[in-house]
Amino acid sequence: MPKLLTGAEIVFKCLEDQKVEHIFGYPGGAVLPIYDELKNHPSIKHILVRHEQGAGHAAEGYARSSGKPGVVLVTSGPGATNVVTALTDAYMDSVPLVCISGQVPTHLIGTDAFQECDTTGITRPCTKHNWLVKDINDLSKVMHEAFRVATTGRPGPVLIDIPKDIQFAKAKYKKPNKEKKLNGKSHNKFSQDQIDELVKLLSKAKKPIIYSGGGVINSGPKASQVLREFVELTGFPITSTLQGLGAYPGDDSQFLGMLGMHGTYEANNAMHDCDLLINIGARFDDRITGKIDEFSPNSTKVHIDIDPSSINKIIKVDLAIVGDVTSVISKINKTISKRKNGHSKSNKSNIAKWWEQIGKWREKDSLNFVKSDESIKPQHAVQRLYELTKNKDTYVTTEVGQHQMWAAQHYKFNKPNRWMTSGGLGTMGYGLPAAVGVQIAHPEKLVIDIAGEASVLMTMQEMSTAVQYNLPIKIFILNNQYMGMVRQWQELLHEKNYSESYSEALPDFMKMAEAYGCKGIKADNPDDLDDKIQEMIDYDGPVIFDCHVDPNENCFPMIPSGKPHNQMILGPNDQEDNKIKGKGKALV
């Protein structure tokens, strides 16, 4: 007879068989049996966070930067409710997470027991799927199924709720099924006909654009490689969503920069005027499309996505290819090469005029800003940070707000998985714990959280985690004393009524660094900036960098509310001779 294992032992057996090396968690009453078992499994390292939300974001950073699922372990009640923000964040941005939560013993469920909450009820809308394990014999099957659901198709978070008595109960352990039975949820069934149709469209296009998204990153490093081949084969311009940055080199001449609300002038105008739009692994988010009725009005639209429910959700498309980006693009590349039959005849000459037009848009230099000798401009700070770290294979996380957009605009990524940001949910406080997770996955690499002073205070407690595990993360705070994006919207939309967006009593970040036992660096003069950034990079340990920037700077360019792509507001240089007047003003 095979050996009977306790629920807690089965949990670890499953984690070992799923090749999990790190879990992010916080102990509590209802998970103590699992924590008790931890010592017997040296291949799995537990990272103790300071708040369960931090565990969730750290696991997200870990997953996004490594391509492996992030694992979270929390207790019942508040442990589970604290992780809800991170689960929702992962759900919106398609990050594979497996969250294990403790639950009160089965006979107490429903009695309002101490630290009881309806965890599966609360997390149902923010996970791909969740399970309450009420029978110990189901545990190993559910655990393996959870990893499968989290990592296949469009990735996302899952949660397994394990009552305390199940953690003590005994059962046989079942290994994961080798053969992957997919319950009809596999979506990689595109046909050669669809590919042929797309290739035909490619050859006819005069004003094409490729718009790639986070799906390329999620499909794995191979996807970025085949995407680069595709762009080279076609000679088409490419733009990227916030989540897709890094899939295509940010400093390449065919790259038009990010598109959308704070995207570049050339990317947005190209989206508006194109005659062929190829969406690869993006979801026509409302920050991308602007006004739906006038979104890219004259184009044939192609959508490649692994999630069938993304197709026609917001924008009706003419050709939908449901499949994994890597397999679809590889197939397209193969078909194009075969067509050419060794000849290098393509429609590159057809699109020469289009490139000319794009060149004119580029001359606007829409990311420009007014430089200053007196105060540090936040854009300048990000540019200097980029210049000083670009040769180091740097990993960047961000919080949410103006600094996030400046980072996306001015930091150029050349590889996938180097850029971790909260796009869909827009979670302030994401970046610091995410940096912790990234550094765990890549202990030798430089990891920087480009932060705002308001966001970073939301999860500042995780500095303690960074110090405990000696994780040399760099928290680069663009400190403008405002919730900058809120202030910007109030300036543009609410007659400069800066309601509650100024932080009256910010902590002294230098002293805070000292209190946590890490290094603090402060910069408020543009002349010292480079030296201070270099000092931060060279320091072997966690750093809080308090970079005082111009508090009145706005993030431009910007698509104002209810406007299509070709009606952007540009930066201050351009605004001088292009003031928004009359009716337009009300619409900003």
């Binding site: 809308p125 309450l132 009809g184 602007g290 739906i292 069938p308 429910s309 509310s561 209810g562 009300a586």
Partner: protein, 182 residues
């Protein structure tokens, strides 16, 4: 168009919504109905009626029939979102006007009154296979099967004849002929 201070886009012109019936085959497990219903409420879809019961005890499959309204784009989304749920095996949908599909609801009417009134009620229900499930000298419980609109109509019509309580199911659906949903 209203002036907007919002960074979200302004809602644009809407297509006309139609009534559709969804049939969903799911694993009969704890919380599965909550997942389906939660999907509808969470994404702002409408449920007009709902019927659910186990249909295959060996394979542990339940069949959920949902009547909903939406534009073709919304209906498409509902199908695709339902299909994504892990315990969902199969989703079929059809328009209410679809001649190839039968769809029926059942109603129980409690009538209190004299014999002649009850007779009148039975007579009024004649077209809808009335069955008397319970009868006393002063009351009767009548079962009918009909379409939603017909039951609505009967409900109104029987009020003056002594109808004091109505209980009705959601719609259930089945294709005509030898074909099954696929």
């Amino acid at each position: 168009m209203p002036k907007s201070k919002s960074a979200y886009s302004i809602p644009t012109k809407k297509q006309k919504p139609d009534t559709y019936i969804f049939v969903v085959w799911v694993d009969n497990e704890a919380g599965v109905l909550a997942r389906v219903v939660g999907l509808f409420s969470g994404r702002g879809y409408n449920i007009e009626s709902l019927a659910v019961a186990e249909v295959d005890a060996i394979k542990n499959i339940s069949r959920i029939t949902i009547v909903t309204t939406g534009t073709p784009q919304v209906i498409d989304q509902i199908r695709l979102q339902l299909t994504k749920l892990v315990p969902v095996h199969k989703v079929a949908e059809f328009k209410r006007e679809d001649k190839g599909v039968i769809f029926k609801e059942m109603a129980l009417f409690k009538i209190v009154g004299k014999r002649n009134k009850i007779e009148k009620c039975l007579n009024a229900c004649k077209k809808f296979n009335p069955v008397i499930l319970d009868e006393t000298k002063t009351s009767a419980v009548i079962q009918i099967t009909a379409l939603r609109r017909e039951i609505d109509k009967m409900n109104k019509k029987l009020k003056p004849l002594g109808l004091i309580s109505t209980s009705r199911t959601g719609a259930v659906a089945m294709t005509r002929g030898a074909k099954i949903f696929n």
